[in-house]
């Protein structure tokens, strides 16, 4: 029978056809922890007497959310991750290396994999045609020790994307529109599958942005077919051998399909405090902004930094608006240095930080004050997300964020680029 991408990947792991709703126990190719969820996972393994990694090369511990550590409790948590890596041979991604999801797509996930990560945005690797999903510490702990997990085979929700982006409009805007339309729980328990002429034409960076935010619609994962673009991306990371083509079967059954025409989109924001609170930049324009944050696993890639640099070149941030720029990984950081982007940012008045999650999750490095407004390129604007329940977060593309930094209020990027 014809299968969706999610069904195909799970079927290849369990060695038989699968149908939505079935519960399967499946092998896991990559299991990931980060410094917020990892310590609890390791405690669970200790309690079970299972301090081991079934597949050390596919077990990755990331120190990214609080990197470098802003306080001793977190430094101690980091020690527990380092010790586990040393004892089991699992891979450790240190404070200089970047956000877990960017590191996973650069160096670990590959088409056809099942990846479980104790971080909800683990769905990012779905852009490489990996069945990649977020779980809690205990689930991932068990996955690390046994090499297996249980899954309910999800129904698939197909997103057919066509048309092209007008100048100033980006993949981020498309995703904000989609989540605004289907709602923050519009795809709960389902796999999103991104298809259509625009999906095929998209760069990997654009695909990562969409897959990253699949969970913001409640989805388990967000999948793209593995095609020539995927192969080139992997080749660019020196791992072309990890490529294999993978696509849904013709005639696969989808629980729901929506079409979206990118040509009809304009720059958008998600207004506080839910991601599905989508507004046009025109509607939000003029709102005074205290901080702009460009980075994260959603939009901290080199392509995003290039867009921001194009808008910021030769300009200065507005005196009222702080600008923080955090490359998603060491590779991105280095590339931005080579291309002269960091110079443009610093000249524009930005604070450029080392790679990592940075200000995204309210742990350190950009916590908002009472009543402050932030425009951020991340994936969540929940109340309290950036460390203060009395602040307000708007989500936007890097272009809109950069234009906002220059103008000091929410601004249309088409005025600058």
């Amino acid at each position: 029978m014809a299968s969706t991408l999610a069904e195909k990947i799970i079927a290849s792991h369990v060695g038989r056809e699968v149908r939505p709703g079935e519960i399967v126990i499946t092998g896991v190719d990559v299991a990931a922890l980060q410094d917020g969820t990892g310590p609890l996972a390791l405690l669970q393994l200790e309690e079970l007497g299972l301090v081991k990694a079934h597949n050390p090369a596919g077990t990755v511990l990331f120190i990214d959310h609080a990197a470098p550590s802003p306080r001793k409790e977190l430094s101690n948590a980091h020690i527990s991750l380092r010790n586990f890596a040393r004892e089991t041979g699992a891979v450790l991604s240190e404070i200089n290396e970047g956000v877990c999801h960017q590191r996973l797509v650069e160096s670990f996930a590959k088409p056809g994999d099942i990846l479980i990560g104790a971080d909800s945005h683990s769905c990012t690797s779905g852009a490489l045609a990996a069945f990649a999903t977020g779980m809690g510490s205990t689930d991932v702990a068990i996955g690390i020790a046994t090499g297996r997990t249980w899954l309910k085979v999800p129904e698939t929700f197909r997103i057919v994307m066509k048309g092209g982006f007008k100048p100033g409009v980006f993949a981020k805007d498309l995703m904000l529109r989609l989540i605004g339309d289907i709602g923050a729980d519009g795809a709960t328990y389902m796999a999103l599958e991104f298809t259509g002429s625009l999906a095929a034409a998209m760069t990997m960076a654009e695909r990562f942005t969409l897959a990253n935010m699949a969970v913001e619609a409640g989805a388990k994962t967000g999948l793209f077919a593995a095609d020539e673009t995927t192969r080139k991306f992997l080749a660019g990371q020196d791992r072309e051998e990890d490529f294999k083509p993978l696509a849904a079967d013709e005639g696969a059954a989808y629980a729901r399909t929506v079409e979206i025409d990118a040509s009809s989109l304009e720059p958008l924001v998600s207004a506080p405090h839910t991601v599905d609170n989508t507004q046009t930049v025109a509607e939000a324009a003029g709102r005074k902004v205290d901080q702009v944050f460009i980075g994260t696993c959603t939009n901290g890639r080199i392509e995003d930094l290039r867009v921001a640099a194009a808008a910021l070149k030769g300009r200065r941030r507005h005196p009222r608006t702080r600008l923080i720029i955090t490359p998603a990984s060491r590779t991105v950081y280095l590339q931005a240095a080579v291309e002269g982007l960091l110079k443009i940012f610093v000249e524009a008045g930005a604070t450029v930080t080392g790679p990592g999650c940075g200000a995204c999750v309210g742990v350190h490095g950009g916590i908002l004050g009472d009543g402050e407004v932030c425009v951020a390129t991340q994936n969540r604007n929940f109340q309290g997300r950036m460390g203060n329940a009395k602040s307000f977060i708007y989500l936007a593309s890097p272009a809109t964020a950069a234009a906002t930094a220059v103008k000091g209020e929410i601004a249309d990027p088409r005025e600058l680029i």
Binding site: I23, G136, W150, K152, D185, G362, G387
Partner: protein
């Protein structure tokens, strides 16, 4: 099992940032301390005033957001006996079962702050004693009944040494 307590009523879209805020990230290795801040940004008085056995009652999409398992753990640690909501976000739901916190999908619209509730997990009923109403909830999937019945995934593994979900 019969659970009895008072309802603490929350709105729609209660996120893991409401339940376990990022500004207490450093307390993730100190769950009893973190539990003192549970749901603080949604209802500041909840943690200090709730009594063991009380219920957290949400609206739509309860627990959306991060994969932090600390969220259901501290709801349980604070003493809540179950979470009732119109619907749940996927990862929160799975985490709750894994840590042994009952999560019940039920129409919560008629439940008001402070209502006395009696939940019968086996019968699948919620009796609102204050309002004299009885609601029923859909049973959990069998896999989850099994894990919850064992007291969570770690206890399940202790018992069987492996997945035993049949």
């Amino acid at each position: 099992m019969i659970l009895k307590g008072k309802a603490w009523k929350f709105g729609d879209d209660i996120s893991t940032d409401h339940i376990a805020p990022g500004r207490y990230f450093h307390l993730r290795t100190n769950l009893p301390e973190l539990a003192k801040h549970v749901l603080e940004d949604a209802m500041p008085e909840f943690a200090s005033q709730m009594r063991p056995g009380d219920f957290v009652v949400g609206g739509r999409n309860f627990g959306l957001g991060s994969s932090r398992e600390h969220a259901p753990r501290i709801i349980k640690l604070a003493g809540a006996s179950a979470v009732l909501a119109q619907s749940f976000a996927r990862i929160f739901f799975r985490n709750a079962i894994n840590v042994g916190l009952p999560v019940l999908e039920i129409d919560t619209a008629a439940i008001k702050q402070g209502d006395e509730l009696e939940v019968d997990l086996e019968a699948g009923t919620v009796r609102n004693i204050t309002r004299g109403q009885t609601l029923t909830f859909a049973p959990l999937p069998p896999v989850m009944v099994k894990i919850l019945g064992d007291g969570g995934l770690v206890e399940h593994f202790k018992k069987y040494g492996d997945f035993n979900l049949e």
